[in-house]
């Protein structure tokens, strides 16, 4: 990969398998074949492109080479921006990442300071949204005890599970727990000593038993009692805790609200 000036490289549209390694393989292919990615499409996001399409098969070794080059060429912070960037809900996520990488490979680690450049700004803002959402969910996630296993469901915009993993594994080292991401249909499984994040098309928590219902009632009582009536301020609450999180939170459910089943995924 000697020459990083892309002017004059032909533009292509990549089709890949939607994984991070798959994306990194596309980046590898782009530089090896001296062609510029102008569009990406992964399974489930069919795209019509004006550019000649090229399917890319994920190649772990090529992906590894690109991944290992990131901290060196972009600094560890830059590498983090890229790996986190892939988890964001950014529209045109792959293209934004690719454009950032193209800029970064040319200019080096200092590109991270150039926050007014649109390519850096867009990615940086998306990653802030991701880390912000992960931070909120560290607080807002609610577990239920199901025969000794802690079970939680979330509906985040970004793919936050990899960011939540370290936090919750450190928080409950001796517990077994599951966090199910209803938006991206993935689950984080943990039991002492091991963890896994796996795709999971359908997941349905069992109903609460007597003891679990008692705990929920105690929490709801605490939640409503601790509020000071004379300071009632629903707008302030909504600013700090947007309504889209409420659906998965114990304090906003009544005793017999059941979570609705997941809608069928559109084909």
């Amino acid at each position: 990969m000697g020459n990083y000036d892309m002017t004059g490289w032909p533009q292509v549209a990549y089709t890949y398998d939607g994984t991070f390694d798959g994306f990194l393989t596309c980046v590898y292919e782009s530089y090896v074949h001296r062609e510029r990615a102008a569009a990406f499409s992964a399974p489930g996001q069919a795209q019509i492109s004006l550019y000649p399409g090229r399917p890319v098969e994920t190649h772990p070794e090529h992906a590894r080479r690109v991944r290992q080059s990131l901290p060196r060429r972009l600094s560890p912070r830059g590498a983090r921006l890229v790996t986190y960037g892939f988890l964001t809900a950014l529209p045109d996520r792959e293209q934004s990442l690719y454009d950032f990488l193209a800029l970064g490979f040319r200019r080096g680690p200092s590109v991270l300071h150039d926050l007014t450049d649109q390519r850096v700004f867009v990615l940086d803002r998306a990653v802030k949204h991701l880390t912000g959402e992960a931070h909120l969910l560290k607080g807002f996630i609610r577990f239920s005890d199901q025969s000794g296993v802690l079970v939680a469901e979330i509906e985040p915009k970004n793919r936050v599970l990899p960011l939540l993993r370290t936090h919750f594994c450190a928080r409950y080292p001796s517990e077994a727990f599951v966090i199910y991401d209803r938006t991206h249909r993935e689950a984080l499984f943990y039991r002492p000593g091991e963890w896994a994040i796996v795709p999971l098309e359908n997941f349905r928590a069992a109903g609460p038993d007597k003891s679990e219902r008692d705990w929920r009632a105690l929490w709801r009582r605490f939640y409503h009692t601790v509020s000071i009536e004379g300071r009632y301020n629903p707008r302030c609450r909504m600013t700090h805790m947007p309504k889209r999180y409420w659906g998965c939170m114990t304090e906003f459910q009544t005793e017999d609200t059941e979570r609705p089943a997941l809608p069928q995924r559109p084909e």
Partner: protein, 421 residues
């Protein structure tokens, strides 16, 4: 009594305490334990009043020997009394913590029997929680003024943060409304905790295994609006507490009418001074993160904050000679003084301008709030496009920006004590 009733009574009795942060300490969980802490703190929910719920905030008991007029738990108040057993409280904490409802426990108490007896019960609860339940989450404990120093020390070895409430912003008010608590009995444990933290840090530097005393520091709170102190007095006191007692936080709590005492504002028609509390918090941030001094924000001639604009804008409008600030050359400390520029955006300005001259469009991307900042900045000598305002016009614009917040409450309440103060 049922646990549900106890929880209700002892939450209700604790809710007027403002502090509910779980910040100041990073600690990962260890195998065989439960719980971790994070330096940034973590809000687990927000109650209908918009306040963060981070910790299980309850009293050990609301049985009290004192009769402080401003306090809902005063001896003479006719409310239901109860107490948790240490084990009940541990079960509650663990049950809530496992479900991720809370970040830890905020244990406070009314003074039951004597300060020593109360503190001993608190120690017993925390010891059980830390040792038997192997709890590694956050614990904030109230030190009880008047307790033996040795007991306060033991409390601090189990808790992450300690606090002693200063209660009211002046000695006269304290003498009037809390005759059982002398100022010295509040400041003595505060000084003891400060010295304990310093000593513990010194020992930790020598040995990693030295016991940690209140590793997340010390905080305090005071009630605002129950007594006639001015904002200037309160802010100077706050500054003194940060400097002399190395506090992590000073919390302000707008007085809620909980008493018919002649010494306090009549509860009928009283509105808690929420906007005033908000302005004090804004000023508190200026002291802690923006290199401001209390005497820059207020003085004897202007002892109270302008309800219409925030303290930073207020300072900026009073110091036209300081502005405009040139974004591309100004120092960090200077940038921090510009309304609409925060700690993060000031750092990002320093970082981004190494790449080339910044423009107003670029500033927006860095997170600068141009609605405020545009009046006080130039980019390479140029002011914001289309900006044509005279100085008196700036105030009007800035006030307009705050209108949504101001409309929620009448600012009249702020002048409650103007005559007496």
């Amino acid at each position: 009594m049922e646990l549900m009733d106890k929880l209700t009574i002892l939450t209700d009795a604790a809710k007027y305490d403002a502090a509910c942060t779980s910040s100041g300490l990073d600690r990962a969980g260890r195998p065989g334990t439960m719980g971790s802490t994070m330096a940034a703190g973590c809000c687990h929910s927000f109650s209908a009043d918009g306040r963060c719920i981070s910790l299980l905030k309850v009293l050990l008991t609301n049985r009290c020997i004192y009769d402080c007029q401003y306090c809902v738990n005063r001896r003479s108040n006719d409310v239901r009394r109860t107490a948790f057993t240490p084990r009940e409280l541990c079960e509650l904490t663990i049950g809530f913590y496992r479900r991720n409802y809370i970040e830890g426990l905020f244990l406070s108490s009314a003074v039951w029997g004597s300060p020593d007896k109360t503190t001993e019960l608190m120690i017993e609860t925390l010891r059980l929680l830390r040792e038997e339940y192997a709890f590694g989450g956050y614990i904030h404990a109230k030190a009880i003024p008047g307790a033996a120093p040795l007991l306060t020390h033991r409390l601090g070895l189990l808790a992450d943060r300690l606090s002693v409430n200063i209660e009211l912003p002046s000695e006269q008010s304290l003498g009037l409304l809390a005759p059982d608590k002398a100022k010295t009995s509040i400041l003595t444990p505060m000084a003891q905790i400060r010295d304990g933290i310093a000593a513990s840090k010194g020992e930790l530097a020598l040995s990693r295994k030295a016991p940690k005393f209140a590793p997340a520091g010390q905080s305090t709170q005071m009630i605002v609006g129950a007594t006639p102190e001015t904002d200037f007095q309160i802010l100077r006191l706050t500054e003194g507490l940060y400097k002399k007692y190395q506090l992590k936080r000073v919390f302000f709590s707008a007085y809620m009418p909980v008493s018919n005492s002649k010494l306090l504002p009549a509860p009928q028609g009283f509105k808690p001074p929420l906007l005033r509390e908000h302005r004090l918090y804004q000023a508190d941030w200026l002291l802690r993160f923006y290199h401001f001094e209390a005497s820059e924000l207020l003085d004897e001639a202007h002892p109270n904050f302008n309800p219409l604009v925030d303290p930073k804008c207020s300072w900026a409008l009073a110091h036209p000679e300081f502005f405009p600030v040139e974004v591309n050359t100004a120092d960090y400390e200077v940038l921090l003084r510009v309304p609409g520029v925060g700690v993060t955006s000031a750092r990002r300005i320093l970082s981004a301008r190494r790449w080339g001259a910044l423009t107003f469009a670029g500033l927006k991307k860095l997170g600068v709030v141009l609605k405020r900042a545009q009046y006080f900045l130039t980019c390479s000598g140029k002011t914001a496009e289309g900006l044509r305002v005279k100085e008196d016009g700036i105030l009007r614009h800035l006030v307009a920006l705050e209108r949504p917040m101001l409309s929620r409450e009448a600012p009249e309440q702020l002048s409650l004590f103007e005559e007496t103060g």
